[in-house]
């Protein structure tokens, strides 16, 4: 039996914008069950890396493989969930309605439902409030609820801790840990010098 290909495998991954190197070369592997912290200063290319890993941004130099096959957005669809600075929530819809859309588009993990995940992220009582009336932290929580709902295996979280209170940070860590325990993998980016994740997570260091 051949060794199973890692979930995500980057070799000499670089990205340049107008001849100027944004980051790289980066080499890393992410296997099922891994939590990887992407750390770097502002402007060091964390968001760019995340967008490349979603397959939305093209691979400039080097190779990037998802389960042994070159990552292309079309094939990766459904395997990856991305939480970026834009949360992908419709401001005129309620958290529950937003989740229903996500559920329709991407499916639902077995054994969870929209109301339960909203309760778990601490949005009980806000299910039917339009997202525009929620605070920045609550919006983030509504977006986190989507992660729990959809059955994607690879979580790409770009600065998930921004706007969250202490309890929210603990929530992110709990969700990521639970996802890793289920056999999923997560890449979490942070500009902070302190890591919020418990234990010693793997690190990808980006340099500006």
């Amino acid at each position: 039996m051949t060794a199973e290909a890692p979930l995500l495998h980057a070799r000499a991954l670089c990205f340049s914008r107008q001849e100027e190197r944004v980051f790289g070369p980066l080499d890393f592997k992410v296997a099922a069950g891994d939590i990887v912290l992407v750390e770097g200063d502002n402007g060091s290319g964390k968001t760019t890396l995340m967008r490349i890993l979603t397959g939305i941004l093209h691979v400039d130099e080097g190779t990037l493989e998802l389960e042994g096959k070159p990552l292309r957005n079309i094939d990766a669809a459904g395997r990856i969930v991305f939480l970026g600075h834009q949360l992908g929530l419709k401001a005129d819809l309620s958290p529950l309605e937003n989740l229903r859309v996500a559920e329709g588009l991407a499916g639902r993990r077995d054994g969870v439902d929209a109301m339960a995940v909203l309760r778990e992220v601490g949005l009980s009582g806000y299910e039917d409030e339009p997202v525009r009336r929620l605070s920045a932290g609550q919006k983030k929580r509504a977006a986190l609820a989507r992660l729990m709902l959809v059955p994607a295996i690879l979580w790409l979280l770009d600065e998930p801790y921004a706007n969250l209170d202490r309890e929210g940070i603990a929530l992110v860590n709990r969700l990521v840990q639970a996802h890793a325990d289920r056999g999923g993998a997560a890449l979490v980016s942070s500009h902070g010098t302190v890591t919020f994740l418990g234990g010693e997570p793997r690190m990808i260091r980006m340099h500006a």
Partner: protein, 227 residues
């Protein structure tokens, strides 16, 4: 539970219609615009019935198409700004199909109200009643065609700021044949000539656009986001 294409289409359509309903004022804008333009024509040209009758079909077609242009620019803007488009790209559904649904929803919320009021506008300009049917049929074919062509151009200009001007310039030459055929059908009906041929041309173009536009749109949006 994995998502089926049908469930995804239903969820997306429901979302877009719900969003449109929550912002009803935006739907009313093109309708109001068309109403104002059609009202002003008789004031500017004088209430001479023969003259108004002659120009009624053309005026209404141009008014409706221009009113659609007002809302066209916003087709994907909201989705790009709030990150919904990225979610759509990452969903395990064919992007072209999802975009087809979005274009359909956009047509329902912008063009359909215009088509519904078009007999009223036509009445104001003394268009003979028997011709109204042909006008509505021409609009039913011309407006989705314009939505589909417009969607490609909106997708192409999605990455650029202030894309409105560029969009209008690019859309103009593509609008011309649509207007010619649609107005041709109405004019033919008014003169008692057979009007099926221009309608058939519009129908053929619509079928072609229905198949190709969502694919082109998907490719264009992927390029726009890859920057």
């Amino acid at each position: 539970m994995t998502a089926t294409a049908g469930a995804a289409c239903a969820a997306l359509l429901r979302r877009d219609l719900l969003l449109a309903w929550r912002r009803r004022g935006d739907i009313a804008m093109p309708v109001l615009y068309a109403l104002i333009v059609a009202t002003l024509f008789p004031f500017a040209l004088g209430p001479e019935e023969a003259l108004l009758q002659r120009i009624a079909g053309g005026v209404i077609l141009v008014t409706v198409l221009l009113a659609m242009l007002l809302a066209l620019d916003a087709m994907f803007r909201g989705d790009i700004e709030d990150g919904s488009l990225e979610q759509l790209l990452l969903a395990p559904q064919p992007l072209a199909l999802m975009l087809a649904i979005r274009i359909f929803a956009h047509w329902v919320t912008t063009a359909l109200p215009l088509i519904i009021i078009s007999p009223l506008l036509a009445g104001m300009l003394h268009l003979p009643t028997p011709v109204m049917g042909v006008l509505v049929v021409a609009l039913l074919l011309a407006t989705p065609l314009l939505s589909l062509i417009g969607a490609i151009l909106v997708a192409l200009t999605a990455g650029t700021r202030r894309s409105g001007m560029l969009l209008a310039l690019m859309l103009l030459p593509l609008c011309v044949p649509v207007v010619i055929f649609a107005a041709g059908a109405v004019a033919a009906a008014q003169q008692g000539l057979p009007w099926v041929a221009p309608i058939a041309w519009l129908g053929a173009a619509l079928v072609l656009a229905l198949v190709l536009a969502p694919l082109a749109c998907a490719a264009a949006l992927r390029i726009a986001l890859d920057a």
